[in-house]
């Protein structure tokens, strides 16, 4: 077990390192940030001076080495805009993102798993057909569009809910629904197919032959087996959600990491972007690590190895 943990921990480091490297070079393609911070008619010398000050005039590999050297020590530099610690700014936004992610995930699971199970149990009935149809729609609808429609309906027309911002639980309703919609669709479809697969297994027949009632057969004997593939999917989705649902947060002006990243990209505030990527990659890798451990808990065949 310790072996496994150490191995996975090393993997986490590699993942984070690679993510930072890729993003470091990719954002340079967007151009030099200094021009955005100075007036368009700033004289050449002033731009050069500013680049000199921030170190953007050095060769890229030197900047990269410098960045990595500092990043390893937890220093991602200061925001170009506010001159505050970049990592600190990102961490400040994290709770809001967590709040949104966890709520929508729980909501999604509570809707999707019973729905998927029921769909599988009542396969090829009208209920199942409608369910499958809705999940396809749910997956196909882009979240920015759904977000706008929700705002239009509940904020603009009915004036029941705020269209954006954060702070009170009421503010969470629309962004949570928007985020959950996609996950519900994905989880439902996956639960349904995993369940259908398991319900045909020999061991389900064995349980039936022992006189196990249908409810117990499904909720205990079949669901536990179906959960194995679902855990992976949930971990992946949670990673995405915790990484800041960039578009949803932007649509609803939710003060989370996603919106921060989006704004920082627009401003070419590179230190914040990189600090954000660092946090997201770290969370993503850790969640997958936890999922693997959960996996072993649910599936004893992995546990022994």
């Amino acid at each position: 077990m310790l072996d496994f943990v150490i191995k996975r921990f090393l993997q986490v480091i590699v993942v984070v390192f690679l993510a930072l490297t890729v993003v470091f070079f990719l954002i340079r393609l967007a151009g030099d940030p200094t021009t955005l911070f100075l007036p368009p008619d700033a004289p050449r010398e002033q731009i050069e001076e500013y680049r000199e000050l921030l170190g953007y005039n050095r060769p890229l590999y030197v900047q990269y080495g410098d960045f990595m050297y500092n990043a390893i020590q937890g220093d991602f530099g200061e925001s170009l805009r506010s001159q505050e610690d970049a990592l600190g700014i990102v961490l400040d936004r994290l709770p809001a993102t967590f709040q949104l992610a966890i709520t929508s995930l729980i909501l999604a699971l509570f809707i999707a798993i019973p729905l998927g199970v029921l769909s599988a149990y009542k396969r090829n009935t009208v209920f199942d057909r409608i369910g499958v149809g809705l999940t396809v729609v749910g997956q196909a609808v882009p979240s920015f569009w759904l977000g706008l429609i929700l705002i239009f309906l509940f904020a603009a027309q009915l004036q029941l809910l705020p269209s954006g911002g954060g702070g009170t639980p009421v503010h969470m309703i629309l962004p949570t629904l928007t985020l959950a919609a996609y996950s519900v669709a994905r989880f439902t479809r996956f639960t349904r197919s995993a369940m259908l697969d398991v319900l045909q297994k020999d061991y389900i027949r064995t349980a039936k032959a022992s006189g196990v009632p249908t409810m117990r057969l499904i909720m205990r004997y079949a669901l536990r087996n179906s959960l194995i593939p679902i855990i992976t999917l949930v971990a992946l989705d949670l990673g995405v959600l915790l990484g800041g649902a960039v578009i949803t947060e932007a649509v609803f002006s939710w003060p989370g990491v996603g919106r921060l990243l989006w704004q920082s990209l627009m401003n070419r505030d590179f230190p914040i972007v990189l600090a954000g990527v660092f946090i997201i990659a770290l969370i993503y890798a850790i969640i997958n690590f936890v999922a693997d451990i959960l996996y072993a808990y649910v599936n004893p065949q992995i546990r022994v190895k």
Binding site: Y203, R205, A207, A209, G211, P213, Q301
Partner: protein, 328 residues
Amino acid sequence: MSDAILKIKNLKIEFKSGKETVQPIRGVNFELKKGETLGVVGESGSGKSVTSLAIMGLLPERTSKIVDGEINFKGNDITNLKEKQYRKIRGNEISMIFQEPMTSLNPVFTIGQQLSEPLRQHRNMSKKEIEKAVINVLNQVGIPRAEQIINEYPHQLSGGMRQRVMISLALLCEPDLMIADEPTTALDVTIQAQILELMKNIKQENDMSLLLITHDLGVVAEMCDRVVVMYAGEIVEVAEINELFNEPLHPYTRGLIDSMPTQNTRKERLYSIRGQVPRPNEITKGCVFANRCPLAFSKCFEETPPVFARDDHLSKCWLQNTKEGEVV
């Protein structure tokens, strides 16, 4: 006969696949006496397993239907029993052992958890009593260190061990009837013999009746008192075990016996029945075996033979259509 524990009367089962319906079981009749071991023999596709699932009430609900006939268990017609009532019988009065021990146990629950289930469902016992009973039955089927095994998972056991676990699962509620569907087919030969021996002993100790479904005539010879030979969804011959091997009346049974490899002599070429079992939708008029039968004559292709009886020896073949019942 009043001492019959299970009577199948004129059972007909229909399967729906798309718009087509087929009848994999067409008018099956047999009886299982109390304490008897009855073998059901036939090739793949002869309807052995479908029959056994029908007895358990485990036919796939949406795609299959018992269209005619009766399954009578201990004097009660259980053919159209409600699911809730059937559940009281399953694993309790009738239990079943399946062919594939490797996949028939749930991989995510311990042996103990799975073995507790029939007792939980059918007996009013405390957790402690259940555990004791489970360990007891594991000992009975010859599983060593039962106290540890109950905390292990199926993948930690070998195929033979798993089949022993399956047998103990079927034994827990001391059923009156045990159905074993090819219980040894998936096992190594040496393990096969052990499991058969075990089943024989257990049947005697527990005073059960056993319905043994197999395609292996060797297993039948070893285990059974009487044999039902099935072919393409019909019963073609029923006989006492010695009589079946000494004097098989149906050409299909003869073919099966001739196809058995013998131990001491090496035949030039192993006998085989030519052709294949017709699919249910290919069956038209005449005898179901006519197209493969070496002795078929014109009548066989025209009319379906009735069941001819010679004492307790039944066969469904036109060749038995003589007053003395002699083979021509």
